[in-house]
């Protein structure tokens, strides 16, 4: 089965939100599952406070970039990310958005909205919006067969445990954030 998995995901937000961290967790989950992976990220001048966009390609690919109209999903850490980066999506794609109001997307996409800022404040971890959104996406998107994510909540927690093995407090906070997002799906 793993040979046939091919998923292209765009993750977008602004500097300081932890776009690269989420990208890395997903990429390491892919490797853990024996899948090939490509990510592409922004450094240097382009990174200073501006829009941060990363591309994640899981499965057998040769190019690090996603072409417009080819992404299976968009993880949007900002409400306006769909307007800005929705052109990467192909028809039928999913969009998971951190937003106060329901995201407005075309009928050809499935949108899932969560107010991750409020949840982050509730767990006293204002910088955990990225993980809450990821947890939410893992729960919300696995409902649809066609477009389920290549990994599960358990996979991501295993990656976190490896990465933060020596940082108990950070690990606990991270797991709590991702579970908060996951459980918010009813």
């Amino acid at each position: 089965m793993s040979n046939s998995i091919k998923q292209q995901i765009v993750i977008s937000g602004v500097g300081g939100q932890g776009v690269l961290f989420v990208t890395r967790l997903l990429a390491e989950a892919a490797i853990m599952k024996g899948l090939s992976v490509f990510t592409s990220e922004t450094h240097g001048m382009a990174q200073r406070g501006g829009t941060v966009l990363s591309h994640l390609k899981v499965g057998n690919f040769s190019s690090p970039l996603i072409r417009p109209g080819n992404a299976n999903g968009l993880l949007a850490l900002k409400a306006d990310s769909f307007a800005r980066h929705g052109y990467f999506l192909k028809p039928g794609a999913w969009v998971a958005v951190n937003s106060r109001e329901d995201a407005i997307v075309g009928p050809e996409f499935s949108a899932y909205t969560i107010d991750a800022e409020i949840l982050a404040q509730r767990i006293h971890n204002p910088k955990s919006v990225n993980l809450i959104l990821l947890g939410f996406a893992l729960a919300a998107i696995s409902g649809t067969l066609e477009n389920s994510l290549f990994c599960t909540l358990e996979d991501i927690i295993t990656v976190l445990q490896q990465r933060l093995a020596k940082k108990k407090q950070m690990l606990d906070d991270a797991v709590k954030a991702i579970e908060t997002g996951f459980k918010s799906v009813k």
């Binding site: 992976v37 990510t39 990220e41 240097g44 001048m45 406070g49 829009t51 690090p64």
Partner: protein, 607 residues
């Protein structure tokens, strides 16, 4: 086989250096190359072998140190960004003639786009000018493999070899299998040969002839020959691709169902292009499309041009990054397939800005107060973003702030009322190329103020140490050189240090410097406050972040937004007042002194 690891392209390059037994690596930081040396240093900590790994003061020095290691018989490498190679071009040209003993790899990372550079220049043209071979990787995995290949090639022909990755290779991550480190067997052994290592012009002619012979043989070297990717395709049109454009093209050809139709060749060594390959292509195909970044280096070596399409024929853009969607259009057109162009929304995004609480912002605000009608030459680093505050008028290249200040001074000096000139330069950039320019300014009595923005680090590229830090690439303790000492050593009479967070005092100091410079010549103010990004390591003792709030006195005049542009200050136009974003605010407290209405105040906890 080893377990795959998620590696940044630059980490894969470092892994390749380690596996090839490279024992000396030098660099000066620059995006997208910065992580190569840092990753090599991180690998070293685990190994038992002693290697020399260093951040040099600039790329020329980095090049000369690593090159000399190879003259002494060791495997060595130097890494830098493409414009860094300009700085190192003097030793590069000469080293090509003299050749090497131990393998010597020059890694020059290009930045098509450009994402984080002042030019899109193609380092492969520099290799061509220097007459050394260059390898062009398409992915982190291939970059690692090419390091091994580069060392073999370098030692087989006693020639420096360039690896030219681009941003999309350096800053992609991929699953890469780490190999075993090659225990380094090469012994240090400098064989004196002044006729070669100190060759006079007459002997240089002979060396040039030798170099041409080497290149001729390298253009027939089997291990770096172009690869035919799809043997089953038989069309009379063919594609030639290299670098990350090859990575995109492979995927696109499959998606367009052309993989079994159009023959595709990947060039590994764009210069010198393999002679047999050139004749085979010209003889076999009626039409050939060349897709490469950034200049048509492969294309221009295809001498018989009647069947060639590429940048020179306008089929491929000569400017900007070749994004996969662009390549898809080009290949579609070449194959005669209609591909609907995708309507991309204009992507306004958010403009880059200095971090909230960045000490540079305070320094720029003070510069504008001290010399409101001044000319402000600046330099390469985070502080280029002083543009947003109107405190940066020019940015040319590393170190130019100082010499451009001189250029403006000499241009205006015969005018009745010459403008004040306040130049800004970062601490690392000052060491890199500012020092000779400052000596020149002292000698020429240039009346200007130089503000050295000393944030105790090389911030833009990821906080590498500067010569003032006394710390090496592996965290080892080294000597430090203090900036005041250098400035005074250059002959500057007015050299003072201030903390830009103390905005009023700092502005007064700048005013004094401006006044001094009008009468006497160069004045230097060192604006010293550590970078926020690594402040936890180096914060000024005793300094505590302040909690600030905007009082009801705020009438939404937006002075702070327009003139201080801190991202933590948010203007609500309908409410006509400014608020502070508590997540973004880093508590520098400078905005308290910026507000003309005195409506930004510190929140006192003990009240």
């Amino acid at each position: 086989m080893s377990k795959p690891k998620l590696m940044l392209g630059n980490e894969a390059i470092a892994q390749g250096l380690m596996e090839s037994g490279c024992v000396m690596a030098t660099s000066y930081p620059g995006t997208p190359a910065s992580e190569i040396l840092a990753s090599f240093a991180a690998l070293q900590e685990k190994g038992s072998e002693k290697r020399h790994i260093q951040w040099a003061v600039n790329e020329k020095i980095a090049f000369e140190i690593a090159y000399t290691g190879s003259m002494a018989g060791l495997r060595t490498a130097v890494s830098m960004k493409q414009v860094g190679l300009n700085v190192a071009s003097d030793p590069l040209m000469s080293a090509a003639y003299l050749g090497v003993k131990g393998g010597f790899v020059v890694i020059s990372a290009d930045d098509p786009g450009p994402h984080s550079s002042q030019t899109e220049q193609d380092s492969r043209l520099m290799a061509m000018m220097a007459k050394i071979p260059v390898l062009d990787p398409d992915s982190p995995r291939q970059a690692k493999e090419m390091i091994a290949l580069a060392f073999q090639l370098s030692e087989a022909f006693e020639i420096p070899v360039m690896l030219r990755p681009t941003t999309r290779v350096c800053h992609a991550r991929q699953d890469v299998h780490p190999g075993d480190d090659l225990p380094h067997k090469r012994e240090v052994d400098f064989q004196k040969d002044p006729a070669r290592w100190a060759a006079t012009p007459k002997f240089r002619l002979h060396l040039h002839q030798e170099l041409e012979k080497k290149l001729n043989t390298i253009s027939r070297y089997k291990k770096t020959a172009p690869i035919r990717l799809n043997a089953e395709a038989t069309a009379s049109k063919a594609l030639i691709v290299s670098g990350v454009a090859a990575a995109h093209a492979k995927e696109i050809l499959k998606d367009l169902n052309l993989w079994d139709v159009i023959p595709m060749y990947q060039v590994l060594q764009p210069f010198p292009l393999h002679q047999d390959f050139v004749s085979h292509m010209i003889k076999t195909y009626s039409e050939i499309l060349v897709v490469e970044e950034t200049t048509g280096v492969i294309e221009m070596q295809l001498a018989d041009r009647h069947c060639i399409k590429g940048k020179l024929t306008g089929s491929v853009p000569s400017v900007g990054e070749l994004l996969p969607e662009t390549i898809q259009q080009i290949i579609g057109e070449f194959a005669g397939i209609d591909i609907e162009p995708i309507d991309l929304p204009s992507e306004p995004g958010i403009r880059p800005t200095l971090c909230a609480g960045c000490p540079h912002r305070a320094a720029f605000f003070a510069v504008k107060k001290a010399a409101p009608k001044g000319i402000y030459p600046s330099d390469i680093g985070c502080y280029t973003l002083g543009l947003n505050l109107g405190a940066v008028d020019t940015v040319l290249c590393m170190g130019a702030a100082v010499s451009q200040a001189a250029g403006f001074y000499h241009s205006y000096k015969h005018e009745k009322k010459p403008p004040d000139i306040v130049a800004t330069i970062g601490d690392s950039t000052f060491f890199h190329a500012g020092v000779p320019a400052l000596i020149d300014a002292v000698v020429q009595k240039v009346r200007f103020v130089l503000v050295i923005l000393d944030n105790r680090t090389t911030a833009m590229t990821g906080n590498q140490p500067t010569p003032a830090m006394g710390m090496g690439a592996c965290g080892e303790s080294l000597n430090s050189v203090n900036i005041e000492g250098v400035v005074e050593g250059c002959g500057v009479q007015f050299c003072r240090v201030g903390d830009p967070y103390q905005l009023k005092e700092f502005t007064d100091l700048l005013k004094e410097a401006v006044k001094y410079s009008r009468e006497n010549g160069p004045a230097v103010v060192i604006s010293r406050h550590p970078c926020l990004i690594d402040r936890f390591r180096k914060e000024t003792p005793g300094w505590q972040p302040l909690k600030v709030e905007v009082s009801d006195a705020c009438d939404g005049c937006a002075f702070c937004i327009d003139h201080f542009e801190c991202p933590a200050l948010i203007l609500d136009k309908t409410e006509e007042r400014v608020s502070i974003d508590p997540i973004l605010c880093n508590g520098c407290g400078v905005c308290i002194s910026v507000c003309p209405k005195k409506s930004i105040k510190e929140i006192k906890n003990d009240a």
